[in-house]
Symmetry: C2
Subunit: 405 residues, 2 copies
């Protein structure tokens, strides 16, 4: 039974901390007491586990003590984690302060850690008896299925499981509403005549523009995590998974680790930022000597990703930066290609790209934006969200609290 009503107020990422608290959910206090604090949501993906929790000073001294203990454990986990480079970390940029939930004010924190370190998480959670403080948490992602039993038996924590795609779509609506019209943006090309050229190496001429997603339906949603899921979304509760690809963020990172010796996504992106994929790939002009005019394929277009790497002379002439860039361009273009096909075939003009692959990765976002516009001759719009990482977790918290009350 749902006792709650929730109110979403306009929220700007840069709003003054002096303004009143942001009220995401307002609800019956009994729910609050039933759940214990802090509320905890986990999206356990193939590569990354993303968490959100609400930290607040409770008016009730007992509750406050419990909450503080738990927060200590959570923080300790990230400090104790010994593996450099793959340790979990707080997404401080995403933190939402001065938020009011159920009449209390506090902060929503966002944390991520590699799912491969789940064993470490369990060890620390057991050591600090996490199950004493929270008995349940909202969970989604593949790991909500994979780890459910372990959380129950080893930590005595139950999962309130939520479907990943439902949660993502509802979370998108929540975040767009909170931050409209600033939340959604696209990459604008101020020189449309350059549309006639292949997406160039440097996309710095593109500028970011707000896009008011007032009436979003229908749109194609491309969720790029370890792999890729593509949905056709026709209404708030009307969508279907139309396609997917196993070539996603996990492929980019895995190949980069093998090819360059890097160890983290951030490192791989930083390498890619300094590289030139054209030394690695075979371009249309490498094969045709120029454009392939019959089919309108420009000379700068990649004809064969990594297509020069069978040649010893070319292999000697490349750096790890070039390899990382080529990997990023290969994966990004392939995703763009598949998304474009579906959008064209379904006659849907808006494609929204989300997922952790796009985090700290403006190269891919710009490439997708430019390529979608180029190949559709300007008829398709590639859209991105400012706070898309928050989407799923915020809704997960909300759904957890409301849906299971």
């Amino acid at each position: 039974m749902i006792f709650l009503r929730y109110v979403v107020r306009s929220y700007s990422h840069n709003r003054s901390r002096k303004s009143g608290p942001l009220c995401i959910f307002r609800f019956n206090a009994s729910v609050f007491h039933g759940k214990g604090m802090p509320w905890f949501g986990m999206d356990i993906g193939g590569t990354l586990t993303k968490c959100a929790y609400f930290e607040t000073k409770s008016a009730n001294p007992d509750l406050h003590h419990q909450e503080t203990e738990l927060i200590k454990i959570v923080k300790k986990y990230f400090k104790e984690n010994p593996r450099k480079g793959v340790a979990g970390q707080a997404d401080i940029r995403l933190q939402m302060d001065n938020v009011s939930i159920g009449g209390r004010t506090g902060s929503v924190h966002f944390i991520r850690f590699p799912t491969s370190l789940m064993d470490d998480f369990f060890a620390i959670a057991k050591k600090h008896q996490l199950g004493k403080f929270i008995s349940a948490l909202g969970a989604t992602g593949g790991g909500a299925y994979k780890f459910e039993e372990r959380f129950a038996t080893e930590l005595n924590i139950k999962f309130a499981k939520f479907d990943e795609m439902d949660t993502l779509l509802n979370g998108m609506r929540l975040v767009v509403k909170m931050n409209r019209p600033k939340e959604v943006y696209y990459w604008y090309n101020p020189h449309p005549d350059e549309q006639n050229c292949n997406p160039p190496q440097e996309k710095d001429h593109l500028s970011r523009k707000e896009y008011d997603l007032n009436d979003p339906y229908p749109f194609v949603l491309v969720n790029i995590g370890s792999g890729v899921s593509i949905l056709a979304v026709y209404g708030p509760h009307n969508y279907k998974r139309i396609s997917g690809s196993s070539l996603g963020g996990g492929t980019f990172l895995g190949l980069c680790c093998l090819l360059t010796g890097c160890t983290t996504f951030e490192e791989a992106i930083a390498l890619a930022a300094k590289g030139d994929h054209r030394k690695v790939d075979k371009l249309v002009r490498d094969i045709y000597g120029g454009d392939y005019k019959k089919f309108g394929l420009p000379g700068d277009l990649v004809a064969s990703s990594f297509g020069n790497m069978n040649l010893p002379d070319h292999r000697l002439n490349i750096s790890k930066f070039d390899l990382a860039r080529a990997t990023l361009v290969t994966i990004t273009n392939n995703i763009g290609n598949i998304a474009l096909m579906w959008a064209v075939n379904l006659k849907i003009s808006r494609v929204v790209f989300v997922g952790n692959f796009l985090r700290v990765n403006p190269i891919s976002a710009k490439l997708l934006g430019h390529a979608m516009s180029f190949w559709s001759r300007g008829t398709l719009e590639a859209l991105f969200l400012e706070h898309e990482v928050r989407c799923l977790l915020l809704h997960l918290l909300k759904h957890y609290i409301i849906g299971s009350s």
Copy 2:
């Protein structure tokens, strides 16, 4: 003006050499004298240059001398080429003996060499004055544009250029007609209940079956060379390029060279044959702990290609065989995925796969065959050609002789 008529007779690869000669083209002798012998056709692709030439004993002693000289040069080229592993070589398996062309009997030879060695080809051709023996040749592929001027100025050989896709499609018709009904085949699954499982690692349970492509239209043609071109073919002269991908045979070979240290396509395929991609990729069950039932994704499905390679422990546990296999499976599945999408969206039930990527590569052919059937629930047919490498070159020879006479 065309003086010629040509006759295509049924031809079987294994037909007895004692049977009468195969007559591919019958034509006016004046054309023969105008062209010089042997007729030479080149398909200059991004990675490989494929050649066909007709070797025969001429009744005319002068002509015979010229032809013999040229054949010597051609053979010398392949012997002189010093680079081990990337040297050109005759496709002896494809050789067509006892063929009658214009009243003369001889053999059609097929040769390939890496396009990257074109400089070596020019050096030897100049040394042996190739231009003294032939003044023109039929050419297609991107290199027909890229190298046209060099052939003219350095070797005094003119190109009769033919569009690659026209030539390929006409060549397919020619070869299918010559060898019907044996030419076209598919991979048959004798255990259709296994359709419910993800395409397994080993596809040895699949058996090859003839497919009588009597009325071929419409079909989707997927041409996998260095990159991939996808055509929708509605009739003999009615087709359009609907899509493509830069992730093709060149990507497989390039990545394998980087990841395993191999140097040739054959070596890369041999490595892949011994590997297990499941050690490299992240599977649905690695993320979900089993199937992802909501979307009908089986646990064995690859969720993220190379998705385990960001983890040091996993990297220690793999071999170059596994890496080659994962690369092959990644590229093959991506091509199958894109081809499937187009076939489904265009409501075309037959997909014909051709291109040098499929040469000595039954793993990919079986994977494509099984995956197309699996994902379409048996409604799509993945078809292959027995002598598809011949298609384009045979038609190129034919078109060159007839079309420019």
